[in-house]
C-alpha cells in the first residue's frame, strides 16, 4: 500500500477549496444551531442560493462577478426571510422539517426544465467565474512544498477561501462576545425567558438565520467557482448532513470548532478512503469493489454523526459543560 500517497492526499485536503466550503457552511450553521439553537436542516440550500444567485447574475444579467457575489448574498438573506417568517415562531422541530423541505424545493426549482433557460436545468451553469480567475495576482508557476504544491490558480482560490474563513471567524467571534450574541445564547437556552425580558426573539432569530445563511452562501460560491460549474445535484441533503457532521465534530458553539472540524473530517475521510482502496487493491477486502469503498465513506459519515451526538456532543473543542442541545 502506498502510504506516502495516502498521507499526501489526506494532507492535501487540509486546505482544499472543498474543505473551505464546508468550513464556511459549518461556521454559518454554528451561528444557527450552536449559538441560537435553530435546527436548520437546509444549510445546503443557503449555499446553493448564494451560488446560483451569483452565477445567474453574471450569466443572465451580465453583471460583474463582484456584483454577482453581493446579489448571491442578498438572495440568501431573502431566502432566510422567506423561510424564517412561517417557521421561526414555531417549535424547533418544525423548523427542521421546513428547512429540509425548502432546500429540496429549491433544488427542484433549479432542476425543472421550465426555468432551464436561466438555471441551466439539471446540467447547471458554468463560465461565471472568469473574473475571479482573471484577478489572480500570482504569476504562473507552482508554489509550496511536499503535499502542499499548488499551481497559481489553485493557490489563488485557496488564499481567497481561507481569507474568507478568517474574516468570517473573526466576524462571528466579534458578534458572539457582544450583548447581541448573549441574547442569541439566551434564546438557545429558553426563548420564553428571553422574551419575558423584553427581547424581540423573532427578530434575533431571523438575524441569526440571515447571518449564518450568508456564511453558507459564501461557502457555496467558493464551491462553484472552484468547480467552474453549479449543478442542482450537488446540494442534496447529504451536503447538509456533512455540514452537520463537520460542525458537531469540531464543537457547535465554538469559533475554531467548524474550522478544525472541517479539516479533521476531510483528512479522516481521505485516509479511510485511501486505506480501504489500498486494501481492495491488494485483495484484502474481496467482498468490496472500489465504488463500494466510496459508498462506505458515506456510511461512515452517518455513523460518525450518530456516535458524535451520543458520546461527544460538545465536539473536539466544545466545553463539556456547555453542551449544545436543547432537550
Amino acid at each position: 500500500m502506498d502510504w506516502l500517497n495516502i498521507g499526501s492526499l489526506a494532507l492535501g485536503e487540509l486546505f482544499s477549496p472543498f474543505t473551505a466550503t464546508f468550513i464556511l457552511c459549518a461556521l454559518g450553521l454554528s451561528v444557527h444551531f450552536g449559538y441560537t439553537g435553530l435546527l436548520n436542516f437546509g444549510q445546503a440550500a443557503f449555499a446553493a442560493v448564494g451560488a446560483y444567485g451569483m452565477a445567474i447574475s453574471v450569466l443572465t444579467f451580465g453583471l460583474p462577478l463582484g456584483v454577482g457575489i453581493l446579489i448571491g448574498l442578498l438572495a440568501s438573506a431573502v431566502f432566510a426571510v422567506i423561510l424564517g417568517i412561517p417557521t421561526l415562531r414555531l417549535r424547533a422541530d418544525y423548523l427542521a422539517i421546513v428547512t429540509i423541505a425548502a432546500s429540496e424545493v429549491f433544488r427542484y426549482f433549479m432542476t425543472t426544465i421550465g426555468f432551464a433557460k436561466v438555471t441551466g436545468g439539471s446540467n447547471g451553469l458554468s463560465q461565471f467565474g472568469e473574473d475571479f480567475w482573471a484577478a489572480n495576482p500570482f504569476p504562473e508557476g507552482t508554489y509550496g512544498f511536499g503535499p502542499f504544491m499548488y499551481r497559481a490558480d489553485e493557490l489563488w482560490i485557496r488564499v481567497v477561501a481561507f481569507a474568507l474563513i478568517a474574516v468570517g471567524a473573526v466576524f462571528v467571534w466579534l458578534l458572539m462576545r457582544s450583548p447581541w450574541g448573549r441574547v442569541l445564547k439566551g434564546i438557545r437556552e429558553d426563548e420564553d425567558a428571553v422574551r419575558s425580558l423584553g427581547k424581540n426573539v423573532f427578530a434575533y432569530k431571523l438575524q441569526a438565520l440571515i447571518i449564518g445563511g450568508a456564511l453558507a452562501a459564501l461557502g457555496g460560491m467558493v464551491f462553484v467557482i472552484n468547480l467552474s460549474n453549479v449543478q442542482p445535484q450537488s446540494w442534496g441533503t447529504t451536503f447538509t448532513f456533512m455540514i452537520w457532521t463537520v460542525l458537531l465534530l469540531g464543537g457547535a458553539a465554538t469559533i475554531l470548532g467548524p474550522i478544525v472540524g472541517g479539516m479533521v473530517f476531510f483528512v479522516l475521510l481521505s485516509v479511510t478512503q485511501g486505506i480501504m482502496s489500498g486494501l481492495v487493491d491488494i485483495g484484502a477486502l474481496p467482498f468490496l469493489t472500489l465504488p463500494q469503498v466510496g459508498q462506505i465513506r458515506f456510511l461512515l459519515i452517518g455513523l460518525a454523526l450518530m456516535l458524535l451526538v451520543i458520546f461527544r456532543p460538545q465536539g473536539i473543542f466544545g466545553n463539556k459543560k456547555e453542551l449544545q442541545f436543547n432537550g
Partner: protein, 286 residues
C-alpha cells in the same frame, strides 16, 4: 367591609383607588374547556397582590394572557392606561411588566452574571450592527455589570457569579430569575409560584425580597399555593376557581370567605388550607 385599597367593600371585580392593571372580559378556551373567564379585575398599584386558587383554576393561563404569552379568545386589559390586548410579550416586558415562570427559566448554559446582564434593557450592543464595535456598548455594559453585581449581592448570589446557571440549586435559580427580572427596574413584577420547590432555608429570604420590592415602589402580583406566605406578605388576595374570580379582599377577610373554602375544598377535599398544597407541574393550566 371597608379597606384602604378598594373603593367600597371588597368583592370580586371591585374597583381600586389606584389600579396599575385592569382586565375586562378576558376569556380563553382550550377546545371546549374554558380555562379563564375573568369579567373584571384590577390590580392595586404599589401593593403586593396574591392570586390564589386550586390547581387548574387558570391562574397561570391568566398570567400568560396578561403578559402576551398566550392569546385570549376575547377580552381587553390595560397596564397604566395602555391597552395591552394583542401586544407581543417582549413589548409588554419593555413597558415595565416583567414576569417569572412557574418552572424556573434560568438560562442554564449562561453564567449567572450573563443571566443578569441579559435582564437589562437599553443595551445598544444588543443591536446587531452596534454589536460589532465594542466602544459603542462597553460603557453601558460596565454600568449594567455594576447593577447586576449589586443585585447579586442583595440576593446572595455573588459567590456564584461566574458559575453556569445550570449548577445552581432550585431555590437559587428562583432567586436568580427574580433578580434578573429586577434588572430592568419593572413597575410591575409578576411572580408565578416563587416558592415552589424552594427549600425552607431560602423561603424567608425570598419573602424579604418581595417585601423589599414593595418598599422600593414596585407593584407585585404573584401566584401561590402556600397560604402562610399569602397571609404574611400580601396586602390583597384574589381567588380564582374554574377560570373565574370568585373572591377578593385583604388576606384575613378572604381566608374566612366561604366561597374560598368552597373553591379549595371542592377541588381538594384533602388539602388543609394551612399547608403547602402539592404542586403538580404542568397541571395548573399552563
Amino acid at each position: 367591609m371597608a379597606n384602604e385599597i378598594s373603593i367600597g367593600p371588597a368583592a370580586p371585580g371591585c374597583k381600586k383607588h389606584d389600579p396599575i392593571l385592569v382586565a375586562d372580559n378576558v376569556m380563553r378556551q382550550f377546545g371546549g374547556l374554558t380555562a379563564v373567564n375573568v369579567e373584571h379585575v384590577e390590580i392595586p398599584r404599589g401593593q403586593i397582590t396574591a392570586l390564589i386558587g386550586p390547581n387548574g383554576a387558570g391562574k397561570t393561563t391568566f398570567f400568560n394572557l396578561l403578559t402576551g404569552f398566550d392569546k385570549p379568545n376575547t377580552g381587553s386589559w390595560t397596564f397604566e392606561g395602555k391597552n395591552l390586548a394583542g401586544v407581543p410579550s417582549y413589548k409588554v416586558a419593555r413597558l415595565g411588566m416583567i414576569r417569572t415562570f412557574q418552572l424556573t427559566k434560568a438560562l442554564s448554559l449562561l453564567t449567572v452574571i450573563e443571566n443578569m446582564r441579559l435582564g437589562a434593557q437599553k443595551q445598544p450592543g444588543e443591536n446587531f450592527l452596534r454589536a460589532l464595535i465594542r466602544p459603542l456598548w462597553a460603557k453601558n455594559e460596565a454600568a449594567i455589570t455594576v447593577k447586576a453585581d449589586d443585585l447579586l449581592k442583595r440576593f446572595k448570589l455573588d459567590a456564584k457569579r461566574e458559575d453556569y446557571a445550570a449548577g445552581l440549586s432550585g431555590g437559587q435559580r428562583k432567586l436568580l430569575e427574580m433578580a434578573r427580572a429586577l434588572m430592568s427596574e419593572p413597575k410591575l413584577v409578576m411572580l408565578d409560584e416563587p416558592m415552589a420547590g424552594v427549600n425552607p432555608a431560602l423561603t424567608q429570604s425570598l419573602l424579604d425580597h418581595i417585601k423589599d420590592l414593595k418598599k422600593n415602589g414596585t407593584t407585585v402580583l404573584f401566584v401561590e399555593h402556600d397560604m402562610h406566605m399569602v397571609r404574611h406578605i400580601s396586602d390583597w388576595v384574589i381567588v380564582m376557581a374554574e377560570g373565574k374570580v370568585v373572591a377578593e379582599g385583604p388576606p384575613a377577610q378572604v381566608m374566612k370567605d366561604p366561597a374560598v373554602i368552597d373553591a379549595y375544598l371542592g377541588a381538594h377535599a384533602d388539602t388543609d388550607l394551612g399547608t403547602v398544597a402539592i404542586n403538580v407541574p404542568g397541571k395548573a393550566g399552563n
